[in-house]
């Protein structure tokens, strides 16, 4: 890992998180933490016509986990639930524009795991092993 990961954009999302807070009347909420470091993310989703109509996140933790979750909320808005299920690690790395390295990758993927937990929960489907193992 290199400290190059702390680019201005990451710090900007860490200090000024977009879509942070609560959604009035969300259709689904999901929350998870990384037991290793204590980072926590909660996502609240409003779903209309099979798409993510609006969403918010809350949480606390390192710059990577919080910035990644916030950037993901912008990426997810308007996407179909199938598109959300298809999002993977590579999409998150592209979105961040950095490679956090093996020890910090889980920080970057916590938001993705939580939003997927929300999508599967909303659909009443069993969460896949792949999702469980993101973090």
């Amino acid at each position: 890992m290199s400290s190059d990961i702390y680019k201005d954009i990451i710090l900007d999302y860490y200090r000024h998180p977009r879509n942070f807070g609560d959604l009035p009347d969300p259709d689904v909420r999901a929350k998870d933490s990384n037991p290793l470091c204590g980072d926590v993310i909660e996502m609240q989703l409003r779903i209309r016509d099979g798409k993510i109509d609006d969403l918010r996140f809350k949480g606390r933790g390192c710059a990577i986990s919080q910035a990644s979750a916030s950037m993901l909320t912008e990426l997810a808005k308007g996407k179909t639930l199938d598109e959300m299920k298809a999002l993977g690690k590579e999409d998150i790395l592209n979105m961040l524009g950095i490679d956090p390295g093996p020890t910090r990758i889980k920080c970057a993927l916590l938001g993705l795991k939580v939003i997927k937990l929300g999508v599967y929960g909303y659909l009443g489907q069993t969460v896949t092993e792949e999702v469980k193992q993101l973090v």
């Binding site: 890992m1 290199s2 400290s3 702390y6 204590g38 933790g61 390192c62 710059a63």
Partner: protein, 367 residues
């Protein structure tokens, strides 16, 4: 350890052959070294366990199961490591007892008023860390021990953070039980020590059942071996015990006074330097003589894990997170802290590297 595995490597207290005899002797010599090192009155007061955590579980689950009753009180402190909280919560739940925590003041020192108030006639156990693994605070354990004994409570000392760093004498402290780990004092992993006063150990039922811990086994039941063997069921970590003995020889050669002074000098130097790094919050006592050599801190709004990553690049290894002390983190109202810690091999030059790495982190985060 190398010699044990190469030249003895026999199971102890069992074989009749020469190798077994040598192995047993080396293991028991290690026990004597530990006994002298912490000032135990009798060698059989030393029980080898895997680590301090296992020792605390043994006390809570073996002594506790026999002695703790419904509505009894177990007094801990808010600065305990999870290993000195969770076993007590387990036994409290099983018995219908309850756990109370002595809190700290603004400098991370245990509140004397709460020591007086919370340790009362309903208290069965007082279990306290000698030194906080987060704040560094060295607690007034003799005084707490006296308060526990005044009400007839058991006094348990978690010495995992103190035994490696300063002279600790179990008899002078007058604790009933004490635990510590080998890996924190230059010894191997997987070996730890439970000290218990002879009479208390004798009256405590066994923790794990199996070989070594018995005198006789019949289909109808079993009788127990003498202490300390009663608590050492199964083939023990003989190599680990011998390794711990070697670590103690090494520490004795340097001298615990010298180790303490060296760490005090580094801590004093680091506290002074760190206080000049803008945006630093340091937790724990300001007076370095009230601490062991750990400094928990936060730097501005940089999360501890981000700081650990940045410092790692500069070759500095710090611990970051909740330090297995979540109740303390909640009490301090911080999600995590970073922690620099020192031992005999650290130098002032390394503290300087730490300081310049902190300055680099400040720049990266535009603080």
């Amino acid at each position: 350890m190398d010699d044990y595995y190469r030249n003895s490597n026999a199971n102890i207290h069992r074989g009749i052959h020469k190798l077994a005899e040598e192995a047993t002797l080396a293991y028991e010599q290690a026990r004597e070294k530990v006994s002298k090192f912490i000032g135990a009155k009798h060698t059989e007061e030393i029980v080898f366990v895997r680590n301090a955590t296992e020792g605390l579980n043994l006390i809570a689950l073996a002594w506790g199961r026999a002695n703790i009753n419904r509505d009894d009180k177990i007094v801990l402190t808010i600065m305990e490591h999870h290993s000195n909280i969770v076993p007590w919560q387990m036994i409290a739940k099983e018995k219908g007892a309850h756990v109370e925590f002595i809190e700290i003041d603004g400098e991370g020192i245990l509140r004397e008023d709460q020591v007086r108030e919370k340790i009362d006639n309903t208290t069965k156990v007082v279990a306290v860390t000698h030194a906080s693994n987060v704040l560094g605070t060295i607690n007034a354990v003799e005084q707490i021990g006296r308060a526990a004994h005044r009400v007839g409570a058991l006094f348990v000392l978690d010495a995992a953070q103190s035994v490696p760093h300063m002279r600790v004498n179990a008899k002078e402290i007058d604790c009933d039980f004490m635990v510590f780990s080998g890996h924190k004092m230059l010894g191997p992993t997987g070996i730890g020590v439970l000290y218990g006063k002879k009479q208390i150990l004798e009256n405590t039922p066994p923790f794990l059942g199996g070989g070594e811990m018995i005198r006789e086994v019949h289909t109808t039941g079993a009788t127990w071996n003498d202490i300390p063997y009663k608590f050492e069921a199964g083939t023990p970590n003989a190599a680990g015990a011998i390794g711990l003995g070697a670590a103690i020889d090494y520490l004795n050669k340097i001298g615990m006074r010298h180790i303490y002074d060296h760490e005090l000098e580094l801590t004093d130097y680091a506290l002074e330097k760190m206080s000049h790094v803008g945006g630093t919050t340091i937790y724990g006592p300001k007076d370095p003589t009230r601490r062991v050599g750990v400094i928990a801190f936060n730097l501005g709004d940089i999360h501890a894990h981000d700081l650990a990553s940045i410092l790692d690049e500069e070759g500095i290894a710090i611990r970051s997170g909740h330090h297995c002390a979540q109740p303390l983190m909640e009490f301090l109202n911080v999600p995590a802290t970073s922690r620099a810690s020192f031992y005999i091999y650290n130098t002032k030059e390394e503290v300087d590297v730490l300081i310049s790495a902190l300055e680099k982190a400040r720049k990266l985060f535009n603080l």
